[in-house]
Amino acid sequence: MGAADYQVDEKGHLEKNNYLNCEKGLKSWLFTIDHKRIALLYLGAMILFFLVGGLAAVLIRLHLWSSDSKLLSPDMYNVLFTLHGVLMIFLFIVPGIPAVLGNFLLPLMIGAKDVAFPRLNLFSFWIYLLGALIGFIGLLDPVWLVSKIKGSAIGTWMPLDTGWTFYTPYSTSTGAGSGWGTIIMTFAAFVLGFSSILTGLNFIVTIHRLRAPGLTWFKLPVFVWSLYATSIIQVLATPVVGITLLLLIAEKVLGVGIFDPEKGGDPILYQHFFWFYSHPVVYIMVLPAFGIIGEIIPIFSRKPIFGYSAVVFSSVGIAAVSFIVWAHHMYTAGMSPFSQAFFSATTFGVAIPTAIKVFNWVSTMYKGAISFEAPMLYAMAFVFLFMIAGTTGIFLATLGLDIFYHDTYFVVAHFHYTIQGGAVIGLIAGLHLWFPKITGKMYNKKLAIFAFWLIFIGFNVTFLPQFILGVQGMPRRYAFYIPEFEPMHRLSTIGMFFNAIGYTLALLNLALSWVFSKEKAPANPYKALGLEWQAPSPPPHDNFINTPIVTVGRYDYGKPLEDLGLKGGVSG
């Protein structure tokens, strides 16, 4: 397809022959190897899981409205919070930003035509769906259903109620289907992990081998650096959860007690292996969001990112430190005092790079020309929410305090501020920022800002009271609680309504604008620097009309685009 075949209008919009309409039909979508289409397939599947997980959260919050509410039986409550945890973590936020925005933007940002292994990319998507399918089967107590058909069912039908952490010996003894539910569920986690490993592997090789000429390591965008750090963690942490599953199966099949205390095993060893994977995974979730915020603030402040090398090294620093902090989830589990002190010290090591990042973002805005569009509002909200998330993280890292705060609502509020306030707000901000590039259209700006305020207020009203519940000493995963905790739970449930409506509105706004908006988005709506803005929007199959040569730095704002040799849109 020579350069002439693409009719790109003067504003850089490619109406015909872009990656969306160059091939038609379901088969061209389901077996595509174009990284942009795979990104959209991931986005569709993930929004579905996000809504189901969100529904579970709504039910949980409604149940917790009163201290002895009859809405859910204790078993059903346990099943719902397990479903909420598993869906939101394994199926929505872990693949979240890397699989959608990472897949779509990485090749565009480094001037490549596609990721290094396109077919492997498609294979990881199908593995992801397979994992999701097995996960759902695992949740619904298949062993009992099968034995029911065979007529030898014992006990009652009991979906998985072990929580997303599957702590042994509870998960392998009386969990759903006498432990088999956990085995199938962890197998689903392994399959999903495999998809995550392959995505990480793909990104690392792409960044190493497929950079455009002239794009050295320290000219890479901040988002690409955060994807690089995330991929390192994905590749190096995920296998551990896979093998932990195999040990669970071996324990059940061989009748051996690796984690089962009756047979000489040590349940705390399971927690070691589980958190060795599960702590780095929370950095897989939040690091890409740091990258997105690091992209948004320079664009809307018209200022270079403050201290580029500091931001880059802190991303890789967080990835490195994330491997030596895992046991701060286990202070009260009965570990040796020395290891508690050690892991408390290393956990504080994570606070430093995060603080550096926040300081750099705020300093970027100094003397800028700041405009308040939806992505910028999300980015500023992110800084506020992540300050609360970071500082409450300090509370939980402090050994003495965590003895009290472990497994209370303080922890619930902390990780919701980090994951929802961090990663999900980052994902929504990224979707809004690159919406014109992905769809070639513009979203309704007023509705987007209204939805932002709904999310911001709803989120804070939902989770700030939970910090107070934590201080009052209310434990996690409680279906019923003593009356003193009722006022805060009511406030939190009220906040949940705004939060839920806010998210639905934001996603609806994007979806409807994609379908009905007539406005043709230019290639560079924000007059930003950076390779992905030089490709037409929506980009063609091979991303760029002619391969871009990087002359201008990504953050060299301060001069009109024309002087920098960019026609305010399509390069060259």
Binding site: N78, P261, I268, F306, A333, A351, I352, Q472
Partner: protein
């Protein structure tokens, strides 16, 4: 509504102090940084489009970056050290302390003192003297539980297969909630206990009063019923909790999960206590833990279950003499008519619905029934006399007392004329 739980131990004040310092530092930094951001946002907002490209190209400032890396590092090291010191203080064991052995199982705590005093089950109480260090030694029978006393600011997981310890010195008399904070299944949220801090004298009295092990009476059974946590799953009023209800259990037929039918006699009940999963009743989850108890405890539980089924009532020694197999003469003829009636009422299962102590079960109670006038569902009234009793036995649904269900089966052809007379004599004796 108090935010911070009461300060009930020596460590609580140190804990709250560090907590407060961290809260102030965090609030200060958050407000400062977000304030600066908002100030920048307002001060440098984009006024018009042409100053779009007049922003200064500031790429960074090494001195500033070094400063804001160094300061947080120092602050963070200080907090880390302070946290570690606080933890050492929390778990430092004072030499003269009283030791309490804490055992936990699916959904109940058990506190056992060195004097043999034990408090366990749904309403277990950890009683400790004020201003005296306590050392708890924790373990669990099945899954990981976690003992958390907010008022005392300590928490420790009870890991099955090993022993963990925790310690505190209570300073305020009062009663504080104890939670289980490690997820352990269905009743995780109601697996609570109480910490009661009392004066030293009161504690000495309490801890040395160890109930003597009475004979296998129903009272012991009733105490075990709550202490062992049976009340968590087996109700007394017929309603279904996690397990089958004890009401109407003894002597009834039960369909097991493998389809076979078994009569819930002494052997079945004793076996189900020791090996619950052997004969699992259909439709119930295999969630009951095994109990290894002393013999008289088994018999106590058994007699309690019998008592729940047959009801303790005013004519109890009369009935109990009868039911006590070895004392009762085999030959019916030697018995008085009302004694024969009492046995019939039990054998034919009347007591399953008609209680003998006045409490309302499925049907009206026999106690005080004879001679009373009853109002029926068709608003007619009638006196309970021989003719009414005989009619109710043959066609129970002919006249039903208001407020009761037509659930009584007809005994047509199962009771001889002479047996009905015995029952009537028994009803008369039950005035």
């Amino acid at each position: 509504m108090k935010i911070v739980p009461e300060k009930a131990s020596t460590i609580a004040s140190d804990f709250d102090f560090l907590n407060l310092v961290l809260f102030i530092a965090s609030a200060f930094f958050t407000v400062a940084i977000v304030g600066v951001m908002l100030y920048f946002a307002f001060r440098y907002r984009r006024r018009s489009n042409e100053d779009l490209d007049k922003t200064p190209r500031i790429y960074g400032n090494h001195i500033l970056e070094i400063i804001w890396t160094a300061i947080p590092t120092v602050v963070v090291i200080f907090i880390a050290w302070w946290g570690i010191v606080l933890r050492e203080k929390m778990f430092a064991v004072d030499s003269d302390h009283i030791t309490v052995f804490v055992n936990s199982w699916k959904w109940a705590w058990e506190f056992r003192y060195e004097t043999g005093k034990k408090s366990s089950g749904k309403d277990a109480v950890l009683v400790v003297p004020v201003n005296k260090p306590v050392k708890l030694i924790l373990t669990s029978k099945d899954v990981i539980h976690s003992l958390f006393i907010p008022a005392v600011r300590v928490k420790q997981d009870a890991v099955p297969g090993s022993y963990k310890y925790m310690t505190f010195t209570p300073t305020r008399i009062g009663e504080y909630p104890i939670f289980c904070t490690e997820y352990c299944g269905t009743q995780h949220s109601t697996m609570m206990a109480k910490l009661r801090v009392v004066s030293q004298e009161e504690f000495d009295v309490w801890v040395n009063y160890v109930e003597t092990d009475e004979g296998p009476s129903a009272e012991l059974g009733k105490k075990l019923y709550s202490e062992l946590g049976c009340n968590a799953c087996h109700s007394l009023d017929g309603s279904r909790l996690v397990g089958p209800s004890f009401k109407g259990l003894y002597g009834s037929e039960r369909e097991l999960s493998d389809g076979s039918i078994v009569v819930a006699d002494d052997a079945y009940i004793l076996e189900s206590i020791q090996y619950p999963l052997k004969k699992l009743v259909a439709g119930y989850p295999p969630a009951m833990p095994a109990y290894s108890l002393k013999d008289e405890e088994y018999l106590g539980l058994l007699s309690f279950i019998k008592e729940v089924t047959f009801g303790k009532d005013q004519g109890e020694e009369l009935v109990s003499i009868l039911l006590d197999e070895d004392k009762v003469p085999e030959d019916d003829a030697l018995l008085q008519p009302e004694q024969r009636g009492a046995r019939l009422v039990q054998q034919k299962g009347c007591v399953a619905c008609h209680s003998l102590d006045g409490s309302q079960l499925v049907g009206p109670s026999f106690k005080g029934a004879w001679g009373s006038t009853r109002e029926f569902t068709d608003d007619s009234t009638g006196k309970v006399d021989e003719e009414y009793v005989r009619e109710s036995i043959y066609e129970p649904n002919k006249r039903i007392v208001k407020g009761y269900l037509p659930a009584m089966p007809s005994y047509q052809g199962q009771l001889s004329e002479e047996q009905i007379n015995d029952i009537i004599e028994f009803l008369k004796s039950l005035k």
